[in-house]
Point group: C2
Chain length 333, copies 2
């Protein structure tokens, strides 16, 4: 039985492009003692992977040259030598960009047991994207009903969940996105109260008009010049979540921007980084609430599906080109 795998073949300086990755074929090894063999159904494509593929970015260990690309994936157990796991069960875990993975229990994050919901949602709205949005809001930003929440990359996998969750918690929501189509998705599909394109001519005026008495929670997925504008519109005691920095493509040269110390002080604001992997003990709690909202129609999502492992090497670069709408996955089965 053959296992096609996506390998890091050359170290990129910035975001990994298709030429830094290659596909090889190995023989599937049977699971060892205390291992399961997973057949991946869908592979996750996440912005954070750029750091795993380059220098780690201070977040985690870089993937080695010649190694399978580390990633989340969802798949079916096809053989098990591990207590507690049975063939036929769907699992989410660290299975990598490959067709088959023989792994120990420590690589499994959770069993996928949400009846009636597609397993691939475990990579997006029921996975790290939705969980990030839910836990960053409820554990860190703690929105109060009536507060104004602004989200960047508002139609993205994390952003679209954050906007809807904030609305479900009683907040007024404003989205910033990168195209007219994404703005339309924010308004018509995700139900933001207001949405603007960051490419619009009068972005500052539009944001001022929509932000009213000020932004109470700024859920930032981008960083950079767009985020700088929002920092000028904070309300007192604003909470700013740094969830992602996709708006600045090169961090190695220490990019500069306006100093925000003064606004943090004058507004008594709090600016905090959030990494979902610190909060794995709360995944089940988050997934239960998110699944309930999906079922009652108050949490919508979009998947950006690439078909076949051949599409994987360019998938991350495409994410940084902004070509996806919604959670990008590579579907294998």
């Amino acid at each position: 039985m053959q296992n096609r795998r996506v390998i890091l073949s050359a170290r990129p300086a910035g975001v990994a492009q298709a030429e830094h990755l290659s596909i090889d074929t190995a023989t599937v090894k049977p699971p060892q003692d205390r291992e399961i063999l997973v057949r991946n159904h869908a592979l996750s494509v996440d912005p954070v992977m750029r750091w795993w593929l380059s220098d780690g970015g201070g977040v985690s260990t870089p993937i080695g040259i010649g190694e399978v690309v580390r990633s989340l994936a969802v798949g079916e157990i096809v053989a098990s030598n591990c207590e507690g796991f049975k063939p036929g069960e769907m699992v989410l875990g660290w299975f990598g960009w490959q067709e088959y993975a023989a792994v120990g229990a420590e690589s499994v994050i959770r069993k996928v047991q949400e009846n009636g919901l597609a397993p691939s949602l475990s990579l997006g709205v029921l996975g790290i994207n939705g969980i990030t949005a839910y836990l960053a809001l409820t554990q860190v930003a703690r929105p109060k009903p009536g507060e104004t929440v602004l989200v960047t990359a508002a139609a993205g996998a994390v952003g679209s969940a954050a906007g809807q969750i904030a609305r479900n918690l009683g907040c007024r929501t404003i989205g910033i996105a990168g195209s007219d189509a994404k703005v339309a998705a924010c308004l018509d599909h995700y139900g933001y109260d207001a949405a603007v394109s960051y490419r619009s001519e009068n972005l500052t005026q539009a944001l001022q008009r929509h932000s009213g008495a000020g932004i109470d929670i700024f859920f930032d997925n981008v960083a950079g010049p767009v985020s700088d504008l929002v920092m000028n519109l904070l309300a007192e005691r604003a909470r700013i979540i740094v969830s992602g920095t996709i708006g600045v493509s090169d961090w190695s040269s220490k990019p500069e921007g306006p100093r925000h110390d003064r606004v943090l002080l004058s507004k008594r604001a709090r600016w905090e980084g959030f990494v979902v992997f610190d909060h794995m003990d709360k995944y089940d709690l988050a997934v239960a609430q998110l699944a309930q909202w999906i079922r009652d129609g108050s949490l919508r999502y979009r998947e950006d599906v690439l078909d076949g492992i051949e599409k994987a090497p360019d998938a991350l670069a495409g994410l940084y080109r902004g070509e996806n709408e919604g959670k990008r996955i590579v579907k294998l089965i």
Copy 2:
């Protein structure tokens, strides 16, 4: 009876200089119904006053042209038409840069009742400086014993208290100050574990050497290039307090500096503004602890005393020239 007063006579663009302030003489008015008449003993000189004297800086209402300079002061009640206040009592409050103030009870912050301690301490180590240090640490940064705390303007009125309080709470402390004399004061007088001058040639190396596994709490009183260096040395889950921004003299031109979003995210750090006036309900709690530490010798302080109201107009500008060591006050009696 005459009352000499310091008046804002011209609006400064940046930090108010002596030429923006003038001294006039008015007749002392007797206190009206529900007012007390306070004879000021000492006037406070605080960095934040630059904002009150210019455009407010987003923190508070600017002082009007022709008005007495708003400030904290400590003085003795010499006449009272207000229940609960008796002649002879010492009070801390919003009495302004003048010899006498007729004010209502709402202008009084607290009665000064710390036996055996000089009333002027209510403007410094037992006033907003010490209280800022204590409450920002205990309410926001929440140090754990063994953590590493770095303080900028480490020999200043707030910084010297922050360093000692952090040490009293079991932390390892590092100070950054602006001169060899201040570094010596940090080490010999305030008991920091390490201290460096920001003018030293190898500041980055010195900070790296002293910070060990990283800075857990960064108590920042300055902002600007020195603070930028510290941001590169944060430990995971670091807490950064913005207590002051005296290291950047001009904020009107939106000064630029390195973007810190990435380090906030990768370190899951929290950067938060602290304004002591938000926490007036905890003043008594803070003062009780601070006074106890002063009495047992574990909280030392220095006062930088200017004699006579004639020194007031240049006092704030001198603070921004860095000429004080310790809490600057203008002593009237």
